[in-house]
Amino acid sequence: MAMSREEIYSRVQGVLVDALGVDEEQVKPNARLRQDLGAESIDFLDIVFRLERAFGIKIPRGEMIPENVMTDPNYVQNGKVTPAGMVELKKRMPYVDLTEFEKDPQVDQLPFTVDAVVNYVQTKVA
């Protein structure tokens, strides 16, 4: 039987509490991992490892966080995601709500939220 969203959310919350050393109350659906929960680059590898263990899934490099998009000069210029970059991000990260971000796409403001992680995991355990 497929896991419910609540179950996935609760496990993701546990993963983020352990990986980032934050309190459970801080892990809200709209909290952004980097900006609100203080995740640094190595934390994302830690989170990937912990999600793999928690859900028994395999997360290939660049699938949850397509790092090569964010470092590609065709997709990011002067700290902003280009129109081509937006197309690529939407294709690669359909589990991230980019509606607000698109209005002022500063790359360091990418809304990679707790909800986005839950959405992503949901696609893997379905």
């Binding site: 680059s41 190595i42 590898l45 830690d46 990937v48 490892f49 793999e52 263990r53 490099r61 470092t71």
Partner: protein
């Protein structure tokens, strides 16, 4: 001073687990710095010993082709003090390994009693620091580390 905090490997299973020991002696300066007249082995060096045991294990898994650096201490719980004359046994296990890095867990014991439980993350820095340039040679695994493994594999025999 040589920055090496394990004395020898006693077990090494490629890509899986490793055990190393360290004898703590009163002659070591760092034992005397924390409390006057009460020498103890610093916790930070217990973590470093585990990082070296697990780090060499992680490095060997890629044939020392990757530059492996300690990126994160996920957890370090200490249960008792380490005193001069103690022999520390570092048992490390690779939990997960990928192109970008590895996670490892380990237990440190002395006389069969648990001294510390440690979880570590290692990064293969050339795979993670996009755009940053590092020297081509592997500055992490210098001879002093690889010699430890060679000594273990030759069962301590010295070849001249």
């Amino acid at each position: 001073m040589r920055w090496i905090w394990i004395d020898k490997f006693t077990e090494f299973t490629s890509r899986a687990s490793a055990t190393a020991v360290k004898n703590v002696t009163l002659a070591e300066e760092q034992l005397h710095d924390l409390y006057p007249d009460f020498p103890i082995y610093p916790h930070s060096l217990i973590v470093e010993g585990m990082a070296q045991t697990a780090g060499i294990l992680v490095g060997e898994a890629s044939g020392f082709a990757e530059k492996v650096i300690l990126a994160k201490i996920g957890r370090a719980t200490f249960h008792q003090l380490v005193r001069p004359g103690d022999t520390l046994t570092f048992s490390a296990k690779i939990e997960q390994f990928s192109e970008q890095g590895a996670s490892a867990s380990g237990t440190v014991t002395t006389d069969g009693k648990v001294v510390a439980e440690i979880e570590l993350m290692f990064s293969h820095i050339d795979q993670n620091m996009a755009g940053m340039e590092f020297p081509e040679h592997n500055f992490v695994f210098t001879e002093q580390f690889t010699e430890l493994l060679k000594t273990y594999r030759s069962q301590g025999e010295i070849t001249l």
